[in-house]
Amino acid sequence: MTMQIRFEMPSDEALLLKDMAERFVADHYSLAQRSRMLAAPATELPAHWPRMADLGWLGAALPEACGGLGLSPQQVLPLIEVLGAGLVLEPVTPATLQCATVIARLLPEDRASDVLAPILAGQQIEVLVAGPDGMEPAVSARPVPGGWELSGTVRLVPGGAAAAAFWVAVDIDGAAVLRVPAAEAEVTAYRLLDGQAAASVCFDGVLCPPDACWTGARAALDAGAEMALFGALAETSGLVAALLRATLDHVKLREQFGRPIGRFQTVQHRLADMYICREEVRSMVQLAAEAMAGEASDKRRRLLSAAKVKTGDCARAVVRDAIQFHGGMGMTDELAVGHMVKRLLVLGQAGGTRAGHLTAFSAAS
């Protein structure tokens, strides 16, 4: 397949999703509303999951044959950026971009549709348990009469707190995936520092029948890992843009030494640097989206690694100056800035480390 990087404008459908998402965030995700949601137990299905299903967001990136909208990464990008900037607590990326992608890729079409139906209907959450490279060595499967016996504990499973089932990557003559109902595992639910619900899941002694096991899962897990990374990058892109916007608004209003701090040249030049970061993040994430849609796997992965490195570096620079120019106010819980910063700290750890991606990129040079 030849790459078709054209940076095309978003389609009408993509813009429609984005507009709806902006309205949704404005209506339902004020800081006060969000803070009330955070008071709910992490194990509950997050409040707006069913509504997100109604709006079609949960299946946006899934094939139409599986009940999705069949949108390409480029076309999903604006939606995910808005949800990222809106600090939504629903696990859209882990459940729908990552886990549902693996299911759609791995299972026969009709089976996949059946399995995905309750997820896309907003009735439940299912998430993947796998490492950043698509494989998680922490869980192992041992053949026993009647199927497989699992052992191992995985920490920090995103979206795992309220999941109805886990899709667990294991090694059975190569990459395989087992579906484990949450009730059978030992789930310790908690929130991360950005408020997202996650879980530590212990699989020791879980028995899994053969009809809940799919082997030959390498390609599906890779696709899931790439979608997970892409989702984190897209959310980061939305947040970086939102932090620039918030900082810009602040420096135009806030006065010190008799004039708005945005009149000071140092502030102006560093906001120009924040702007450059936002533009470069936007470009790299869009590039990653285009590469995922049309590029051979080695080049696609290389560009995803490049996007991860650049996006992470830019996000950190923007975090620094967004807080700095908000001054003390930027450090409080009362403005969105601090919440965005915490979300970015968590997203920065998604999909592998900077060092790992830089090395992977470099090795493929």
Binding site: L156, L193, A198, G330, M331, V341
Partner: protein, 385 residues
């Protein structure tokens, strides 16, 4: 971590400090400091009392007011060694701020009344300088005092008041003459937090702590006896205060402490042989040595009679840049281990305070005159630009 202060006399003094800390510091407090956790009032106060018992609680005070008579070099060694022994870094509002102001500008009555209670820990002071909407621009102050018989009626609000929840006294910058230009017409007043009209609202920070507060002053009566020095001279006094302890501003002890903690994290994460981690740690250690060497060089010049000027702003800038870089390195080393929320119960040592410290220490480049202000000070006062 390389020490530079190690002449034989230095070593003897350092040992005295180390032995004292090893003997006197509460083990729970020590453990909290060692892992970078937030400290309670009791943590601070316990250590305060230990220091007070041997007369070491106010290193920079003259002996006649209860200081230990240490040289600047000894104070630096003590600061470094206390950090190394995981002693709590003492909040400076009483010991390093209002104390020295009263010693220099306070009345004999004020000195007699307040200084002993600062030393003994009976009074906990907080600082009322910043105001909502003012930040580093202290001169644009809006809290206002109106003259009445025997004193003043003060109204306004203060913010970023650290540990006001522990404090029973606050010293405030207050506008006593609204007619004159910005920096003039400001006074320093001492206010009992129990005075009618004083109230407090905690500010929750993004790191989850509530160490800072907003303080509201609604028609609070302040008798003349609680105005420091002359009326309308507050800005001058405050500036003198900002110049106090200037050589400690580089925070070398704090940086070394954090560097060692981050090095321990690298070991715990199995990254002690990772090339990039090693390089970043080494470069930051060198940066710390540069700040320490610069501090010592300025100290030597000061001891040789060259007055210290605004050049100490460079210590603030570089010291805070280093400390913030260390918190970022800690984040990178901890990786996902830093991500659970503080209240999740899922954070494990040595990474449990990594995110907290990254978030909390963003303040270092904002408060005490932001690093942008410090650069402007260097440009204007040192370079003549």
């Amino acid at each position: 971590m390389t020490d530079l202060l190690i002449t034989p006399e230095d070593d003897a003094f350092r040992k005295q400090i180390r032995d004292f800390a090893a003997r006197e510091l509460d083990p729970d407090t020590r453990a909290k400091v060692a892992r970078g956790a937030p400290l309670s009032r009791e943590d601070f106060l316990g250590w305060h009392l230990s220091l007070h018992a041997v007369g070491w609680v106010a290193p920079s005070w003259p002996t006649e007011h209860g200081g230990p008579g240490w040289t600047a070099r000894q104070r630096m060694i003590a600061d470094e060694e206390f950090f190394r022994q995981h002693c709590p870094p003492m909040p400076g509002f009483g010991l390093k701020m209002i104390g020295p102001i009263l010693i220099r500008f306070g009345s004999a009555d004020q000195q007699a009344r307040f200084l002993p209670r600062i030393l003994s820990g009976e009074d906990w002071w907080c600082q009322g300088f910043s105001e909502p909407g003012a930040g580093s621009d202290l001169a644009s102050l809006r809290t206002r005092a109106t003259r009445i018989d025997g004193g003043w009626i003060v109204s306004g609000s203060k913010t970023w008041t650290t540990y006001a929840q522990y404090a029973n006294w606050i010293f405030c910058l207050v506008r006593t003459d609204p007619q004159v230009k910005k920096q003039q017409g400001i006074s320093i007043m001492l206010i009992d937090m129990a005075t009618p009209g004083v109230s407090r609202r905690p500010i929750r920070l993004m790191d989850g702590t509530e160490e800072v507060n907003e303080i509201f002053l609604d028609d609070v009566f302040v008798p003349d006896a609680l105005v420091v020095g002359e009326v309308n001279m507050g800005w001058t006094y405050a500036k003198a205060l900002l110049e106090h302890e200037r050589l400690g501003i580089g925070g070398v002890g704090r940086s070394k402490h954090l560097l060692e903690r981050v090095r321990g994290m690298a070991r715990a994460a199995g990254l002690d042989d990772d090339h990039e981690t090693r390089s970043r740690l080494a470069a930051l250690e060198i940066d710390i040595i540069a700040v320490e060497a610069t501090t010592l060089r300025l100290l030597a010049a000061a001891e040789a009679g060259r007055p210290l000027g605004a050049e100490t702003s460079l210590l603030k800038i570089r010291g805070t840049e280093i400390q913030q870089a260390l918190t970022e390195l800690a984040l990178d080393i901890a990786g996902q281990s830093a991500l659970p929320a503080a209240e999740s119960g899922c954070l494990e040592p040595p990474f449990e305070n990594v995110a907290y410290q990254f978030l909390n220490w963003r303040k270092l480049s904002i408060y005490g005159g932001s690093n942008e202000i410090q650069r402007s000070i260097l440009a204007a006062q040192v370079l003549g630009l």
